[in-house]
Amino acid sequence: MTALIETELFQFLRAQVVQRSRAPAERVTPDAKLSDLGMQSIDAVLLCGEIEDRFEVEIDPSEIFEHETVGDFAQSVLGRLAA
């Protein structure tokens, strides 16, 4: 179950990052640095909102800025989902 959510979350994150940053999907890997993907800070905050709605978990708006990579941020969200 957790693996399923992890996959779903990552796929969702990748689609959102691609849509907002126009970065090629293959560049949005768990190790990719969010700052390197060309995301504007407002888009990063709004991405938190999309995750909140999709996964029904409250996300702090600054959470994404506290993590360097896509994977770190995903792990942080997974932690909230498990709490």
Binding site: Q40, S41, I42, V45, C48, G49, E52, D60, P61, S62
Partner: protein, 563 residues
């Protein structure tokens, strides 16, 4: 040694403080503007130390042994988040100004406790989500176990709408808006277009003016197009749409110096756009099985719209707290601190009393000797309601200052100017003699709750003056001074249990006149907050055409024969 919870409204505008006991009882709540007598108290800390000292005394806090826990009404400094989260419908300098004020309030909250000697160093603070504070404060005044609780305001941490479910008195957020798109900001922009100033809190003027205008579909649709509603969430329209609609609206804008009625159609259209957008939000709020809606946030001050909600969108009953705007969040923060400490998720239900502010200063009596030189001073004793009713029936305009001040923007009988609503000219007389308000703005009626069906078409209780209702057409001629242009009244309903003195006053006035309705407007002059001290009340009495003031049970009347 008791623990008190100090809630601070830290928005930078409308600061307020609240004190809650260790059992979850609201002991005190008051907006800073009352104490400092500066409307909206922009940029003044909510724990202004003289105000806080006074509040702690009223609440029975003992600095020698009691402890305080400090809580704020924002989880963070909004300035730490991207500015694009705020709304481009407002002027950029105003947005930055508000963000900086909020950051300062957030940083300094509780510092005054060092000045008061309560703590030796900066106290630990608990920071709570802005919309959650709104929701908790509202639920504390809503006597229901289950409800939908909707918060609509200018902005929260990430957006300007949150929907919560209240189940068994526990709140859980169902969703919230993220990003710009705010009905509070839209109404502020409308206020500017109408030639008024939102920074002065002049949204009231737009709402009052709307009754004189005709809705123009082009203006309504242009305003409504600036904000989209998507599954209840608000989204600001794209930049091109905002630019296009703003240009269209500017053609209908009124310059501040132009005649007010030039903005009537725009005001009516704006109010219609607001109603249309909130209707869309409400359509996405039902669904948790509850038939009660608790509405809060600054937009819950839109009493015209509030009066249309009950019976629609799946909600039979509407509850709006006495202070739905940011001042009320002081209560929310203090209660959240209490709930955290007590380890409970249940929002405590208070007794519903809005009379949570500063009592009449007992030292007021020292002024009476001086006042006697120019005024007639009479102790009305136990029958002050009956004797005041007779005064009002004679046509006197009387300022009343009794008991503890109301929390929230409305005067609900303890800091009110009261008058006879029967003469058609009473509104103009009060404006000319006392208030100095624009002649088109309505005055409110106070009426016994059990009489509501005799006077209003679709009666609902309104203990905090939160909604306007349509008068029964055949009764309008009896109370012309409290009937607005569109045939509505923003009523206060009173019961013998909740507000016995005012209930008795209305009853006795009815016995004198055959009309059990009294005109009730706030005890202030235009541009100033409601009076706080006895000195404030007497200053209004001496410098305006008020016929009398009632301080507790002492009536002070102008005495034409005095030298």
């Amino acid at each position: 040694m008791a623990l008190f919870h100090l809630g601070l409204s830290t928005s930078g505008h409308d600061p307020a403080l609240a004190l809650v006991s260790e059992t979850g009882e609201i002991l005190f709540a008051e907006a800073t503007e009352r104490f400092v007598q500066d409307k909206r108290a922009w940029g003044i800390v909510p724990d202004h130390f003289n105000h806080l000292a006074s509040a702690l005394k009223v609440a029975g806090f003992d600095p020698a042994g009691d402890r305080l826990r400090v809580a704020t009404s924002w989880s963070r400094a909004k300035a730490d988040l991207p500015v694009q989260l705020s709304d481009e419908l407002l002027e950029a300098p105003d947005v930055t100004w508000v963000r900086e004020l909020q950051a300062d309030m957030h940083r300094m909250a509780g510092a005054s406790l060092m000045r008061l000697g309560v703590v030796a160093e900066m106290p630990e603070r608990r920071h709570f989500d802005h919309h959650l504070c709104h929701a908790v404060a509202a639920c504390a005044f809503a006597p229901v176990e289950d409800a939908a609780c909707l918060v609509i305001d200018g902005e929260g941490e990430v957006g300007a709408v949150s929907l919560f479910d209240l189940r068994g008195r526990s709140l859980k957020r169902r969703w919230r808006s993220w990003g710009p798109g705010s009905l509070g900001a839209l109404y502020s922009a409308l206020t500017q277009l109408c030639g008024f100033d939102w920074r002065l809190g002049e949204e009231w003027k737009v709402m009052g003016l709307a009754a004189f205008g005709t809705v123009r579909p082009d203006l309504r649709d242009a305003l409504a197009a600036m904000v989209e509603v998507d599954n209840g969430r608000l989204r600001l329209a794209d930049h091109a749409t905002i630019t296009k609609m703003t240009a269209r609206l500017r053609k209908a804008a009124r310059a501040p110096s132009a005649p007010i009625m030039e903005a009537a159609d725009l005001a009516a259209s704006g109010q219609a756009a607001y109603a249309l957008l909130v209707d869309r939000i409400l359509a996405d709020c039902a669904g948790n099985g509850a038939d009660s809606l608790i509405l809060s946030g600054g937009c819950a001050l839109n009493s015209s719209y509030n009066g249309t909600i009950a019976g629609r969108a799946g909600f039979e009953r509407l509850h709006v707290p006495p202070a739905p705007a940011d001042d009320g969040n002081a209560i929310g923060a203090a209660l959240l601190s209490y709930m955290e400490t007590a380890g409970t998720t249940r929002v405590p239900l208070g007794d519903g009393s809005p009379y949570l502010g500063t009592p009449v200063d007992g030292r007021g009596g020292r002024f009476l000797d001086a006042v006697r030189r120019t005024a007639r001073v009479t102790d009305l004793g136990d029958d002050s309601a009956g004797r005041l009713a007779a005064c009002l029936a004679e046509g006197k305009i009387v300022g009343v200052m009794r008991g503890r001040a109301e929390f929230g923007p409305r005067a609900l009988g303890n800091r009110s100017i009261l008058a006879d609503p029967r003469p058609a000219g009473m509104k103009d007389r009060i404006n000319a003699a006392v208030k100095g308000r624009e002649p088109y703005r309505p005055f409110a009626p106070v009426i016994c709750a059990e009489d509501l069906p005799d006077w209003f078409d679709a009666p609902q209780p309104a203990p905090y003056m939160s909604l306007t209702l349509r008068w029964r057409p055949e009764r309008c001629a009896e109370v012309p001074a409290v009937v607005h242009e569109d045939g509505t009244g923003r009523l206060q309903s009173v019961t013998a249990g909740d507000m016995p003195w005012m209930h008795r006053l209305v009853r006795r006035f009815g016995e004198h006149t055959g009309v059990p309705v009294i005109l009730n407007t706030s005890f202030n002059v235009m541009g100033k907050p409601i009076v706080h001290s006895v000195e404030d009340a007497l200053a209004v009495f001496m410098t305006t055409g008020l016929d009398a003031v009632l301080i507790e049970d002492t009536l002070i009347e102008k005495n034409p024969s005095a030298t």
